[in-house]
């Protein structure tokens, strides 16, 4: 299955998502307070955007439907291709990198000193990517996080998280 074929399925999902999203945007904007007239109301422009999303979503859905997007989704479900996705090396690599970012941004930065948080993030990420040998990784993680911190706080007087 070529790249274009895969896009047809993705476009179909996106098209349907846009139709639903547009519907929600319209509903939410109609529930917003009207002060003088609706033309001036906070919900007016989001209402227009909702209509645009439904229109563009319909165009995408129609286009991808013609490009056999629906058949591809059916085929993918039938052949358990979603399971294959999880065994894809590229996909796994990105998922692990995102997980490391989540840990850094949502856990480490909130709770630890910036230098420690950054050193830990760099250590685990460089280790996972096999960027260098373990001694070099420890050295790079500690020195880099210290230098970044010193450079921004002392030299440019910029606050760190």
């Amino acid at each position: 299955m070529g790249k274009m074929d895969k896009m047809a399925a993705a476009d179909l999902i996106m098209g349907l998502f846009l139709i639903v999203f547009g519907g929600i945007a319209i509903r939410t904007s109609l529930n917003m307070k009207v002060y003088k007239t609706f033309l001036d109301a906070p919900g007016f422009f989001p209402f227009i955007l909702g209509i645009i999303f439904i229109f563009l979503g319909s165009v995408m859905t129609f286009s991808s439907f013609r490009r056999k997007g629906f058949e591809q989704i059916k085929q993918s479900i039938k052949n358990f291709q979603i399971i294959y996705l999880f065994s894809n090396i590229k996909f796994k690599r990105v998922m692990i990198l995102i997980a490391l970012m989540v840990i850094y941004i949502f856990i480490f930065i909130d709770r630890l000193n910036f230098i420690i948080a950054t050193a830990l993030y760099l250590f685990f990420t460089l280790y996972y990517l096999k960027s260098a040998n373990i001694i070099k990784i420890i050295f790079i993680s500690i020195i880099t996080s210290y230098l970044i911190s010193a450079f921004f706080t002392s030299f440019f007087r910029i606050p760190l998280p």
Partner: protein, 512 residues
């Protein structure tokens, strides 16, 4: 009257010239240009990323120094992309992708140094052309923009997103429009500017202030880029040694027509909202190929091809500054980053800028000019040592970029929430890029969303809901016709794309 106005502009120019020529400013520009060149040269770190990473250094600077610094980075980074495009066939920035077509074959023949020298000199010429255009065209646009009313601003915002969506997607413009209007929607989050009514805040207090522009930009261009680069290991090696760098006078003389033509193309495309340096380089390369006597040699290692692409991508910078300074509409993604930075420093570009900050245009032009000279000098000097920077493994470099993006997102508003916004937009950007959606319309939508919202509502209120007053506004009618034409041509392309792939699929099934 016109002569007085001209003299006033000349006076402002020389005043800005004198004001910009002091040691700290010159050193800052030199440092920024060097940083820009180095970051731009590293594959995976684009010009927008360079600005995203270095924007935090400008927070603590005085306003004029911050402007000089960011412009230096911008100029250096766009040129810097040519080193890796030529030496390892991986463009440092998307703007240098066209450069690789001829640059890399030249490097394989052992003429990489010459290709780099040509690229640097062509970038220098492109910058000079674009600065001249910036100085002479911008005052006229200011005068036109002063006559703009609410209708024109609304239509301009829609035009910006539509043309950007159209130009930044190769096959299916609908995808560009979708992300552009998603950008508009993102800008609706937070308190409404007229009635302070909370819109789409999901009950979160932090969202009442809206989505901050810089964290969103850093996420879209920074974090998504980290993931794109690191998702697979692409080994590369540097081919050949860099020997002779500066081309002969005869070669330079023969490239002048190409450089002038590409420079004008670059400025023109740069002035189109959101089109960007990569589009400029590709168009100039294509035009160069068609109009050159050596057109058949393009793609095989031709210095003219390198000159066409490199002149245009740098000329785009001055072009991108024209709509940015006159209408607050960035001409390219790095220009969007620059716009966000000057907003942060409290300057509001637009038709009122020459009244509020009379010399600002010329300060920008002079800073660009100084950066251009440093780009030429430093670009030629570091051509040989840059090879050792290109050897740094991306698996080491890219993880280090994340903490820098975190600082960039945090330092502007000193809010942890902004780091989370950056992460969210990074993931969104990554997914959208994997699905062939361009990022430039999204950014332009976020920037122009508030303008479109407020001006549309106010225009409708003034006309009591009628569209008839629009018919009496010539600029408005021109914009309306342009939008209709973009929509028509875009939908035609989508229909053709669908038809082509439907036939292809049917053919495949029948063959199968």
């Amino acid at each position: 009257m016109m002569f007085d106005s001209f003299l006033q502009q000349v006076n402002l120019f020389f005043h800005a010239f004198a004001a910009q020529l002091y040691l700290t400013n010159i050193l800052i520009i030199a440092f920024a240009t060097l940083m820009g060149i180095i970051i731009g040269a590293i594959p995976g770190l684009t010009a927008t990323m360079a600005l995203a990473l270095l924007i935090n250094l400008s927070y603590g600077m005085q306003f004029d120094l911050a402007i000089s610094f960011l412009l230096g980075v911008y100029v250096g980074a766009i040129m810097g992309g040519c080193y890796s495009a030529i030496m390892i066939n991986i463009p440092g920035t998307p703007a240098a992708a066209a450069t690789a077509l001829d640059g890399f074959p030249l490097a394989k023949r052992g003429e990489g140094g010459l290709a780099i020298g040509t690229g640097v000199i062509a970038s220098f010429v492109g910058m000079l052309i674009s600065i001249a255009c910036l100085i002479f065209i911008t005052p006229f646009i200011y005068k036109i923009a002063l006559k703009f009313g609410q209708w024109e601003y609304f239509l301009l915002a829609v035009f910006g997103v539509m043309i950007c969506g159209n130009l930044s997607t190769g096959k299916d413009p609908v995808k560009g429009w979708v992300v552009g209007f998603l950008g508009f929607f993102t800008a609706m989050i937070g308190l409404d500017k007229v009635y302070a009514y909370p819109r789409f805040t999901l009950g979160l207090l932090q969202l009442k202030g809206g989505i901050s522009l810089i964290p969103a930009l850093i996420g879209v261009f920074g974090i998504s880029e980290i993931l794109i680069v690191l998702e697979e290991e692409i080994p590369y090696k540097i081919l050949g040694k860099i020997t002779k760098i500066i081309p002969s006078w005869k070669t330079i003389y023969s490239l002048i027509p190409t450089a002038i033509r590409s420079g004008i193309i670059g400025v023109g495309i740069g002035a189109v909202p959101g089109a960007g340096e990569d589009v400029a380089a590709w168009v100039a390369y294509d035009v160069g190929k068609r109009s050159s006597k050596q057109g058949e040699k393009f793609g095989t290692g031709c210095l003219e091809g390198v000159a066409a692409a490199e002149t245009a991508n740098n000329a785009c910078i001055g072009g991108a500054m024209i709509p940015l300074l006159t209408l607050a509409i960035p001409g390219s993604p790095p220009a969007a980053m620059f716009l966000a930075a000057i907003w942060l420093h409290g300057v509001q570009p637009g038709p009122m800028l020459p009244i509020e900050h009379p010399g600002f245009l010329y300060e920008v032009a002079i800073s660009l000019l100084i950066a251009t000279f440093f780009m030429l000098i430093l670009g030629l000097i570091i051509a040989k040592p840059i090879a050792s920077i290109l050897k740094i493994r991306r698996e080491i470099l890219m993880p280090i970029v994340l903490p820098l993006t975190v600082i960039g997102a945090y330092a502007g508003g000193v809010r942890i929430f902004d780091i989370k916004v950056t992460f969210f937009f990074g993931i969104l950007g990554y997914i959208l890029r994997k699905l062939d959606y361009p990022m430039a319309p999204l950014v332009l939508g976020i920037i122009l969303g508030p303008l479109a919202d407020i001006s549309f509502r106010q225009a409708l209120m003034q006309s009591r809901g009628s569209l008839i007053p629009l018919l009496g506004r010539p600029v408005g009618i021109v914009l309306l016709v342009a939008i209709a034409w973009i929509a028509y041509s875009g939908f035609r392309r989508t229909i053709e794309y669908t038809r082509k792939h439907t036939q292809k699929d049917t053919g495949m099934i029948q063959e199968g």
